[in-house]
């Protein structure tokens, strides 16, 4: 177990992200509506730099919405810049996919400093 510093927590506002290096790859650190999340910057689809993509919401509907469309997960949907696969930033899971997910890391806040546990 090692910890990599990602800077002061209050420097990362909701909706913002920063990157840390680990070995030969990057990890994206996100403030997702007040919660910190970290994912490896590598998409499970074709290994694109997923963590550099736009953060958005998305359209969805189901029996629960009586098949009406809703704009949901605003600020929680990460779009991989290569092919726009949607990931839930809260969990790293591909939205309505086949179970694919971004490799996730624990983020600790220690004395106002963010650390990614690798």
């Amino acid at each position: 177990m090692a910890r990599i510093s990602a800077g002061p927590a209050d420097a990362l506002a909701p909706g913002e992200r920063t990157f840390v290096k680990h070995r030969n790859f990057e990890i994206g650190v996100f403030n997702v509506n007040g919660n910190f999340r970290a994912y490896r910057n590598r998409c499970p689809h074709q290994l694109g730099p997923a963590c550099e993509g736009a953060i958005s919401g998305t359209l969805m509907g189901s029996a629960d919405t009586d098949w009406q469309l809703e704009w949901v997960l605003d600020g929680r949907v990460l779009l991989c810049p290569w092919h726009q696969v949607e990931f839930d930033l809260d969990t790293g899971e591909r939205i309505r996919g086949l179970g694919e997910r971004l490799r996730s890391y624990t983020v600790e806040v220690d004395d106002g400093e963010l650390y990614v546990v690798v």
Binding site: H45, L59, S62, W67, H83, Q84, V85, R96, G97, L98
Partner: protein, 371 residues
């Protein structure tokens, strides 16, 4: 009857259900069942000169192929339930699901009121003269796409009878495609009655998808497009409007397209879905999840040089529980059951494909054989 082959040797182990056989729904046959004023119309149409599956004002079919002598002259058709039973006996088929001949093109009829009347006449004629549990002949209620409300009534009416086990969705010339929201009453009725919907296309030249097929000079190259492309377009349309998500218990059957197009649809749509999931906001899973639950009938079964390739093809979409034998009897391109039986599928898979899957799908009891 020109096929009198011996029954397959494994006959005793097998129930053979044929999910696509055709009855000859001539205008004169339907005339007694149709509403006034169409009775007079059908009487008149009955007197018009006709070609195979091509009757003015009834079965639209722009036949543009160069006619060659001695070909197609003896086009087969089945005129009575008794003849169908005898024909299917000769093919060693226990149970047949009936589809029309001429009404295969009915989606192209421009007059919605007339089309609905023909559909009602066909359903009534099937009920009265064809379907019979004792003879193993079961009907699919035609859902006339030009009048979805009437189609829904017909599905509820005939679907209440044990002898009607499915809903036939005319697929050649249908416009808009079957995913359009105007058809919702049809899917609601089919789901409510627990009847699978069955898409069936035919060789039709028409200004609906797939159009431009008149550019082919011959049926040889046009025919696969008229069937498989039509099925594919309607499958995509139904996925686009999330029919399988909205009607999770509705079983959907694609007939007369063989099976080799199925893996393509799964892989290609899943590929697109990576990029465009938000454009299919009502699908709760990637398209392949739903396609794996669709049913596919065998005819025209592929005949690859290496028969093992067909087994691999089936495995690609986990088709052992989803594929249903069909002969398409008595049409020009029918498959003898032996053609599928002789493919190197494992014995249990053969039993499923040849009959068990269909018995379960349609809720038909295994027929008891005399002797």
């Amino acid at each position: 009857m020109t096929v009198t082959a011996p029954r397959p040797t494994t006959r005793d182990d097998l129930v053979i259900v044929d999910v696509d056989v055709h009855v000859n729904d001539t205008p004169e046959a339907l005339a007694p069942y149709v509403d006034a004023p169409y009775r007079r119309v059908l009487d008149h149409i009955s007197t018009l000169p006709r070609r195979y599956l091509d009757i003015p004002g009834y079965a639209l079919r722009l036949a543009i192929d160069l006619p060659l002598p001695d070909r197609g002259a003896g086009a087969r058709s089945v005129h009575t339930a008794q003849q169908m039973r005898e024909d299917l006996d000769a093919l060693a088929v226990d149970v047949g699901i009936l589809f029309p001949d001429h009404l295969l093109t009915m989606a192209a009829l421009p007059d919605d009121v007339y089309a609905a009347a023909l559909g009602r006449a066909y359903n009534a004629w099937l009920a009265e003269e064809w379907v019979s549990r004792a003879d193993g002949l079961y009907g699919a209620v035609v859902a006339v796409p030009q009048d979805p409300e009437d189609a829904a009534r017909e599905i509820r009416r005939y679907g209440a009878l044990d002898e009607f086990v499915g809903v036939y969705l005319p697929t050649a010339g249908v416009n808009p495609l079957w995913g359009n929201s105007r058809y919702t009453p049809i899917f609601e009725a089919a789901a409510e009655m627990g009847l699978p919907v069955m898409l069936h296309s035919v060789g039709l030249i028409h200004a609906a998808f797939p159009f431009n097929v008149e550019q082919f000079r011959t049926i040889l190259f046009r025919h696969p497009i008229q069937h498989e492309f039509a099925l594919m377009a309607n499958m995509f349309s139904m996925l686009e409007s999330a029919i399988p998500a909205r009607f999770p218990d509705l079983r959907i059957v694609f007939t007369e397209g063989g099976i080799s197009w199925v893996p393509f649809t799964m892989w290609r749509l899943d590929k697109e879905y990576h990029e465009y999931r938000s454009m299919a906001p009502l699908l709760e899973h990637p398209p392949s999840h739903y396609i794996r639950k669709f049913y596919f009938s065998t005819q025209p079964i592929e005949e690859p040089e290496r028969p093992q390739d067909l087994v691999t093809m089936l495995d690609m979409f986990d088709g052992a529980d989803q594929v249903l034998f069909a002969s398409d009897w008595p049409h020009h391109d029918f498959d003898h059951p032996r053609q599928v039986l002789n493919m190197p599928f494992p014995a249990d898979v053969k039993r499923k494909i040849m009959g068990e899957n269909a018995l379960a799908l349609f809720g038909i009891d295994a027929p008891v054989r005399a002797g």
